[in-house]
């Protein structure tokens, strides 16, 4: 429940802060919604839902004028992908039998859905150190896919997208890595209630 409320607050406030504060700065700033999804999706089983909701919010929050559904699609895919990162192999929680199969090996070696099926995962999972490592390529991929869709859907001319892409890529990728690394390095006791209750 607490996780749900936090996610709702993020979904509602991120586009507002983006429009009212970040974009008002004279230089091109980071994409807070994308960074938030990349940072928070590995913590939850419902990454796709988080990405979809945050993306749809960014799509309809004024002054957005692009095709509705563009960010929703991109962030839904990014959240889906990141939510499949298995939690850190916990030691000392007494769940060794189960985590042996949900570990990184199962996720990487399995074919597609294998990682999903092996074990039910709690709604909130401990962030693994994989999250900050995956954050950079996923943020990069999502930003590039978004730019590609912007051109394909006719939201922005190609020259304009190409001109603004490098700056926003740097901001967004660095921001995503920084935030997800900060979350992964949070003190362990803050996460343990979630794990001990579900595991």
């Amino acid at each position: 429940m607490r996780a749900f409320l936090l996610a709702a607050v993020f979904v509602i406030l991120a586009p507002v802060v983006q429009a009212a504060v970040v974009n008002a700065l004279p230089w091109s700033g980071p994409d807070l919604v994308l960074i938030g999804v990349v940072a928070f999706a590995p913590l939850t089983r419902h990454g796709a839902l988080l990405g979809f909701a945050a993306g749809l919010a960014a799509d309809i929050a004024p002054p957005a004028d692009h095709t509705i559904g563009r960010h929703a699609l991109v962030l839904c895919l990014a959240g889906w992908f990141l939510a499949r990162i298995p939690p850190e192999r916990p030691t000392g929680f007494g769940t060794a039998g189960r985590t042996g199969r949900t570990g990184w090996t199962a996720w990487a070696g399995g074919t597609g859905r294998a990682g999903f099926r092996t074990a039910p995962r709690p709604v909130i999972t401990a962030p693994s150190m994989m999250a900050p490592i995956m954050a950079a390529p996923v943020a990069l991929g999502a930003a590039l896919l978004d730019a590609l869709l912007a051109v394909l859907l006719g939201d922005e001319p190609k020259a304009s997208v190409l001109a603004s892409l490098p700056g926003s890529l740097v901001w967004t990728v660095l921001g995503a890595v920084a935030v997800s690394a900060a979350i992964a390095l949070l003190p362990r006791r803050r996460r343990s209630p979630f794990r001990s209750r579900h595991a």
Binding site: V16, H46, I60, P63, A64, A72, E156, S160
Partner: protein, 260 residues
């Protein structure tokens, strides 16, 4: 439950694609209105909160400006701003004849759009002219209940009918996509390839029928460089807008003509 959880991402992807398709082929007005009501109101609150410390000084400044304009009105019989009397043809300033509504810029988009804190409740609708005390800002492209979205004239997809203030040559002003050396500049294409244009010339709006999307004779900017386009079908020049888009605050929306 678990099988629903597994299928949910796929459903959401399909839903996103459906939304994109709906936006392409139908009008997504309810969703935009919802966005304006929820996120626009929050932007309004955030913007008021950040403006609040500056407001005391602003009132004093506005009172001084008001007093100065009243004095000018008494002296000349009509108001005259420092910028306007340079390009005004005849006896009308852009503000005189229109019903207008003042607004604050409260949110900024990545694709050269701005949210203003007035919406259809205040009579704002699509394709209305927006300008500030410096010059033309853009036009309203969406009007939600509490907020409206303005497309800036620097947007690459914006296109404004324009004319040179002096020679009355007619042309079109478009945003420049490149953010580099030409950042913030717009490009004027004059229909007459032989038209004479030189740096420093002022550009004003041409005006549209029924005043929408643009009312006539609003200052747009001044020519900074004439581009060498020998043999081209049009004569082009780069124009620096009068409006400072990085410091937008108080703007004016033209609702319509006074006579209506």
């Amino acid at each position: 439950m678990r099988s629903f959880g597994r299928r949910l991402p796929m459903l959401l992807v399909v839903l996103s694609v459906a939304l994109i398709a709906a936006d392409r082929w139908a009008s997504p007005t309810p969703l935009r209105a919802l966005g304006s009501a929820v996120f626009g109101s929050l932007e309004s609150v955030a913007s008021s909160a950040t403006r609040w410390p500056a407001d005391t000084g602003r009132i004093e400044r506005l009172e001084r400006e008001n007093a100065r304009l009243r004095a000018a009105l008494l002296a000349t019989g009509r108001p005259s701003g420092p910028k306007k009397n340079k390009h005004d043809k005849g006896d009308k300033s852009p503000m005189d004849r229109y019903r207008v509504v003042p607004a604050h810029a409260i949110g900024f988009g990545r694709d050269r759009t701005v949210t203003i804190d007035v919406g259809s409740a205040a009579g704002v609708a699509r394709d209305m002219t927006v300008f500030d005390s410096d010059g033309l800002i853009g036009r309203v492209i969406q009007a939600g209940p509490a907020t409206a979205t303005v497309q800036l004239i620097t947007s690459p997809s914006a296109s404004v009918g324009a004319r040179l203030a002096g020679s009355r040559e007619v042309g079109v002003v478009k945003g420049v996509a490149d953010h580099g050396a030409d950042g913030g500049l717009i490009r004027l294409s004059l229909l007459n390839p032989e038209a004479s244009v030189s740096p420093g010339d002022h550009v004003v709006t041409l005006g549209s029928p029924n005043l929408r999307p643009y009312v006539p004779d609003v200052p747009i900017g001044s020519v900074v460089s004439v581009e060498d386009a020998s043999g081209g079908p049009t004569r082009t020049a780069l124009v620096r807008p009068f409006a400072r888009f990085s410091a937008l605050d108080l703007v004016t929306v033209v609702l319509g003509s006074e006579a209506l």
